[in-house]
């Protein structure tokens, strides 16, 4: 019973919090750039405004174009539902593991790329092709991280890994550190953050994600923007859950422990958002031809994590 309640609370929390997290990252970035910056609640207002507006659809658009925003958002939201945030005691926790998570994110990406090509404009196709390039590099790296983590903990379930790390089963391990580094690199690529893609750009030559969704307006655009925000929160929750699950409530926790878990989750998320803003301010976007090096590096780090796992087993 509590699992059902907690699951619903979790589902609502993720969606309610996502715009605030994005707004927080934007605010910190603006402050670091010496600007005043909008209030962290601005993304809520943006979404509300977009929802009020009329959706303009191109004549050449098919049903795929209309369906894509909803499918994308649903897939990302479902993915967010299975990543434990403040408690590991979730209804969906046993059913969903990290491989399912990768698949759901892949589904969302696939539909966005389809929608980018659907209208038949040059920019949409260009954005889709670049997005697929990034996906083909990021997904193997993400799966490799999953494998090295599951080798360490003996399971691919995020809740199980979190519980294992919490119980001190891993401790400080080289493999965990390497997997964290790889995971951060993948998260940057998956969210289209700065060294890979600039979320704030509208310069044609450099945009990837923006190019795909250029044709969208009104409620469709609101869904796509919201999906992007939920994805960012999801990856922060995932990094928090797998590598620093401290404070998380476990099955059978009372209200106080759940409150602690909630506070810890909020603290971790906003700390990660601050770190992300710092990182993005201090680095320049890389060339498209360097993506393979960057994400190949992530793949190799995850591979090293596996190698070192076997070394510590052998010692």
């Amino acid at each position: 019973m509590t699992a059902i309640l907690l699951q619903f609370a979790h589902i609502l929390l993720v969606v309610a919090l996502a715009p605030l997290v994005t707004g927080w990252v934007r605010l910190v970035k603006a402050r670091l750039n010496g600007r005043c910056g909008p209030s962290p609640f601005q993304p809520y207002r943006d979404l509300y405004r977009l929802l009020q507006k009329e959706a303009v659809i191109a004549h050449s658009a098919s049903w795929i174009f209309r369906a894509a925003p909803y499918v994308t958002f649903a897939a990302v939201w479902l993915a967010a539902c299975i990543v434990p945030t403040f408690t590991t005691d979730l209804l969906l926790a046993p059913a969903a593991d990290l491989i399912a998570l990768v698949a759901l994110l892949g589904l969302a990406r696939f539909w966005t790329a389809l929608a980018g090509m659907d209208v038949g404009t040059a920019f949409g196709g260009l954005g889709s092709s670049r997005e697929m390039l990034i996906a083909s590099l990021a997904e193997p790296a993400m799966l490799m991280v999953t494998f090295s983590l599951s080798l360490l903990s003996g399971s691919t379930s995020a809740a199980h890994i979190a519980a294992f790390v919490l119980s001190g089963g891993i401790g400080l391990s080289v493999s965990l550190g390497l997997a964290l580094a790889a995971m951060v690199m993948v998260a940057i690529a998956e969210n289209g953050r700065i060294p890979i893609d600039n979320p704030a750009t509208h310069l044609e030559l450099t945009m990837v994600h923006e190019a795909m969704v250029l044709e969208y307006s009104g409620r469709h655009l609101a869904m796509i923007e919201a999906a992007g925000m939920v994805r960012l929160t999801l990856f922060m929750a995932l990094i928090g859950c797998l590598f620093m699950p401290w404070g998380m409530a476990r099955p059978g926790a009372d209200l106080a422990e759940i409150a602690i878990g909630l506070g810890a989750f909020l603290g971790k998320t906003f700390a990660l958002g601050t770190v992300l803003a710092l990182f993005e301010t201090s680095i320049a976007k890389m060339r498209v031809f360097r993506y393979a090096d960057f994400l190949g590096g992530a793949l190799l780090l995850a591979l090293l994590a596996t190698i070192f796992h076997y070394v510590s087993e052998a010692v």
């Binding site: 401790g171 400080l172 391990s173 080289v174 550190g177 390497l178 580094a181 393979a292 090096d293 190949g296 590096g297 190799l300 780090l301 591979l303 090293l304 190698i307 070192f308 070394v311 510590s312 052998a314 010692v315």
Partner: protein, 221 residues
């Protein structure tokens, strides 16, 4: 519990040194390479400091200090100054594809692990894994010297190799301080010699690309 923790922290710092070794392979701009090298030396100093704390060996604090002062500060600053003086601070190297270099790097790490673990079967666990890490760092330094064309990055590869040697030395018990200090000073002397060498190479070939050296046949042309 405490012994386990000290072991894990030593590993984590060793792995940081190794990661910096990969960072050196990944970077293509000269100044970024120098910054990564300074970071590696910093991690090395931390490794030495941690070993000094764990093994209760005061002379390792001297090692840590030498690594910090000479390698993390002095050598990078000198190299930065040299690069500025030579006017090559904007150089982007495209010698060998970065991706392939990294793959070869991972293969070298696997090789050093396969080599070290069977050979040191009798040694303490702490020494064995650190030795594998240190050997990987040495091999990555060698790889960097092979794959780069620019003389400055080759020298950085040499220094990274030397970092790996020090990492191996601090994890094994009982390296005499005299040896340590003499290595540190010989690296400094090497650094000065390299500096003079850079100017000579550039004077002769108007470039620091060592490929010109390969076809050079003295004054007899």
């Amino acid at each position: 519990m405490f012994a386990h923790l000290s072991y894990d922290v030593a590993h984590l710092i060793g792995a940081t040194v190794l990661m910096a070794g990969f960072g050196l392979l990944y970077q293509r701009r000269l100044q970024a390479v120098l910054n990564t090298f300074a970071f590696q030396a910093l991690a090395l100093a931390a490794a030495a400091g941690w070993q000094a704390h764990v093994q209760n060996a005061p002379h390792l604090w001297a090692t840590a200090g030498i690594a910090l002062v000479f390698k993390a500060l002095l050598v990078p600053f000198a190299l930065h100054w040299l690069v500025e003086r030579l006017g090559i601070h904007r150089t982007v190297e495209t010698a060998l594809s970065i991706g392939w270099t990294m793959i070869v790097g991972v293969a070298l790490v696997a090789l050093s692990i396969m080599l070290v673990l069977p050979v040191t079967a009798g040694a303490a666990a702490l020494t064995r894994e650190s030795l594998a890490l240190a050997m990987s760092v040495v091999l990555l330094g060698l790889l960097m010297m092979i794959t780069r064309h620019n003389a400055v990055t080759q020298v950085v590869g040499f220094m990274a190799l030397e970092n790996g040697l020090i990492l191996a030395a601090v994890s094994a018990k009982g390296m005499p301080l005299v040896v340590e200090i003499s290595i540190a000073f010989s690296v400094l002397v090497a650094m000065i010699l390299f500096g003079i060498f850079f100017f000579r190479i550039r004077e002769r070939f108007d470039s620091l690309d060592v490929q010109y050296l390969e076809t050079f046949r003295g004054d007899r042309q």
